[in-house]
Symmetry: C2
Subunit: 349 residues, 2 copies
DNA sequence: CTGAAAGCGCTTACAG
DNA sequence: CTGAAAGCGCTTACAG
C-alpha cells in the first residue's frame, strides 16, 4: 500500500492547519464554505481514510455498540437483531456481535473486549446465570447496558421482553377452548426467567380452567427443531395420552410436528400443537403453525432506541418493559377428537 | 464511574515506569518475574481496562476482523459464520459482523467503517455486482480480503466455495438414476457465479444423460423457504408435469415440500425433491431431505485460517479453492412412478 | 474564519 | 532489568 494519508497530509497539501481540516471534514460551520469544499474534495482525491481509533481516543466516543445473544443461528434472535441493526444503522453506529452460547465466561470476555474498544453501549440477552456484577462491570466503566428477552436479578437496567406467562396462557387457553384437557408442555427449563414464566403461564391457564396440573406432562429441555423432533417419541408414548402440546417455541413445535408426522399421525386433526414466537417460517410450515407472536421486532427496536436515548443523554426509565404477545391461530390446532390419536382405528380424513 | 485507571495510574502507584507496566501486562520476559506479578496484581485490583484504541494507534494492529455476508438469518451463512467464529476465537480476534443484503453500497460502507477502525482483515461473501475496486479498496489500505461462497471477477484474493456445478450435477444424476426425466430446477438466478454454476451443473447432467434441456422447466428466483413455498403452485401446474425438482438450496426445498404437501401430494412418492447445503434441519424435515452437503463448516474454517495465515505473514496462495460437495440421500426422493402426480387416480401407499 | 499546541493512552526504540 | 521520551492520528480549547 502507498503512503498512508492522514489529516496532516491534507493540511500540508492545501497549506492549512490540521484543525481546519478536522473541522471541515465534519462539516463544521466554523470553516468557510469554500475552504470546506476544497478540503473535502482533496480528501476524496487522496483516498483519505478517517482514523476512528485516533479520533475516539480523543473524543471518548467510539460509535461502537455491542450486541450479545445466546446464538444468532436461532431465528428468534436473528429477528431481534434485524430490528436492532436497522435502528442502529440509521444513527450510523457500528455494531459488534457475539454469541455467548450461555457461557457466562464467554459473555464476560465479550464485555471486556467491548470496554477495551471503547464501546458506547451494549445490548445483551444475558447468558443463563449472569451475575449482576457482570452487568455492573459494563455500567461502571461508562458503558450502559440494555437487556433483551431475558432478565437478570438485582440489576436495574432497561429490560425489554415479551410477557411470557401471559403469552403461554393464551396458547393454553386456546387449546382448552378447543376441548383439550390433557395438554403437554414441551421444551424450556427453569434455568431462565423466561422458562419459569412460560411454565407458569401454562399452569395458570390449567388452574383457571380447573384442570389439574400433572408435572409428568412436562418434557423439559428441548429448545431447537432437533430437540422437538426427538421429543416426539416421548410425547407419543406418554401414558396420559395427551391430545395437545404447548411448545416452548416455534422451532420445537416444528420439530415436534415433523416427528409426529413421521409416526403417521396428523397434526391439527389427531393432535394439536402450538408454538411460540411466530417466526417467519411458522406460517409456511405444513400444517401452518398456531403460535404466539412474541414481537421480536418490537423488542429489538425498543432496546436499540432505549440505548440510543441513553447515549444522547435523555434518561430512559430503567426496569422491565413487558411487551404483550398476541395469538396467531392457524392449522396446527383443532378441536379435540376423542380416541383418535392413541387408538387410531383407521379412520381417514 | 470512578476515575479512569490507565497504565500511568498503575505505574505511579507502584513507582515504576509506564514502559515497564506495558511490558509486564503483556508478559514480556524483559520484566523480572516479581515485578511482573506485582504489576499484574495491582492492575487486577484497580480494575484496569486495557485501552485497545490507544494501543492499536501505536501498533497498527487492531485485532478486529470484519465479516460480511448477505444475510445471517440464512442458516447457510450462519453455519459458515459459526466455523469462522470458532477459528477466530482461538486466536483472540474480535469480529465485526454485517449483512449487506446484496447492496453493494451497504457493503462498501462496511468496508470503509472497518478501515476506519483499523480492521486487520475482512472475510466477505460479496454482494451481487461487487466491483473489483471495492475489494481493492480494502487490500490497498492494508486490509487483506478473503472471499467465501461467491467469487468476484478480476480480483485475485483467496476464495473458498463449494464446487456448485459438480454438486448440482450430483443431485440431478441421482434423480435421473431414479428414472426421472422431467426435472424442474427451482430457485437461484444468473446474477451470481453460484447461480450460473448451479444451473450449469443441472444442464450438464441432463446433457450427459441425453435429456433435452427445457428452459421453461426452470423457476428462477426463490432462495428462501417462503420462496420455495410460493413456487409450489407454479411447479404443480407446469404443463410438462415434472416428476422431480432440483432446488436451489435446502430452504427452497423445504418450502417447496411444504407447499406440495398442502396440495395433497406426497413428496418422495408422488414427486421427488432435492435440496442443496445439507443444513442441520434437512435431516429432520419430513420427509427427510435428500440434499448435497456443501461443507459450510469447511468453507468457513478454511477462510478464517487463510486470513490468519496471511496476517501472520505466510503467503497463502490466492485464487479459487473449490470444496467438493457430497450427496446425502434421504426420503424426499424416490423412484419415478408414472402418472401418479398429475393424474392422481386415488392410489394409496 | 484559521492556526499553534496540548493531550487522549498506549508502545517502541534507545540508553543505561 | 528498568526509565525517559517520542509518536501513533486525531480533536479541543485557546488565541488571534
Amino acid at each position: 500500500m502507498a503512503q498512508k494519508i492522514k489529516l496532516s497530509t491534507i493540511a500540508e497539501t492545501l497549506g492549512v492547519s490540521t484543525a481546519t481540516v478536522s473541522l471541515a471534514l465534519r462539516d463544521s460551520p466554523l470553516v468557510a464554505e469554500t475552504t470546506r469544499e476544497r478540503i473535502k474534495e482533496k480528501a476524496r482525491a487522496l483516498g483519505y481514510i478517517y482514523n476512528r481509533r485516533a479520533a475516539s481516543l480523543r473524543t471518548r466516543r467510539s460509535g461502537i455498540i455491542g450486541v450479545v445473544v445466546r446464538d444468532i443461528i436461532n431465528p428468534f434472535y436473528a429477528e431481534i437483531l434485524g430490528a436492532i441493526e436497522s435502528e442502529l444503522d440509521r444513527s450510523r453506529q457500528t455494531f459488534i456481535l457475539s454469541n455467548h452460547y450461555d457461557s457466562v465466561e464467554k459473555q464476560r470476555n465479550f464485555i471486556e473486549t467491548l470496554l477495551q474498544l471503547g464501546g458506547d453501549g451494549v445490548i445483551m440477552s444475558p447468558a443463563i446465570g449472569t451475575p449482576a456484577a457482570d452487568i455492573r462491570l459494563a455500567e461502571e466503566n461508562g458503558m450502559p447496558a440494555i437487556l433483551v428477552a431475558r432478565s437478570v436479578d438485582n440489576v436495574d437496567v432497561p429490560t425489554f421482553r415479551g410477557d411470557d406467562a401471559y403469552g403461554v396462557s393464551l396458547a393454553t387457553n386456546h387449546l382448552i377452548g378447543l376441548g383439550h384437557r390433557t395438554i403437554a408442555m414441551v421444551g424450556g427449563s427453569d434455568h431462565t426467567s423466561t422458562g419459569r414464566d412460560r411454565y407458569r403461564g401454562y399452569t395458570d391457564a390449567l388452574d383457571r380452567a380447573g384442570i389439574p396440573v400433572d408435572e409428568s406432562l412436562r418434557i423439559p429441555g428441548p429448545r431447537t427443531k432437533q430437540g422437538g423432533f426427538e421429543a416426539a417419541v416421548h410425547f407419543l408414548s406418554m401414558r396420559q395420552k395427551p391430545t395437545a402440546a404447548v411448545c416452548w417455541n416455534d422451532l420445537v413445535a416444528i420439530g415436534l410436528m415433523s416427528g409426529i408426522a413421521r409416526a403417521g399421525a396428523i397434526v391439527g386433526r389427531d393432535v394439536s400443537v402450538t408454538g411460540y414466537d411466530d417466526l417467519e417460517e411458522a406460517a409456511i410450515a405444513t400444517p401452518a403453525l398456531t403460535t404466539v407472536w412474541n414481537r421480536q421486532a418490537d423488542v429489538g427496536r425498543s432496546a436499540a432506541r432505549a440505548l440510543l436515548d441513553k447515549l444522547s443523554g435523555s434518561s430512559e426509565p430503567n426496569g422491565l418493559h413487558l411487551i404483550k404477545p398476541e395469538m396467531r391461530i392457524r392449522q396446527s390446532t383443532g378441536p379435540l377428537k376423542l380416541a383418535v390419536l392413541h387408538g387410531r382405528e383407521g379412520r381417514q380424513a
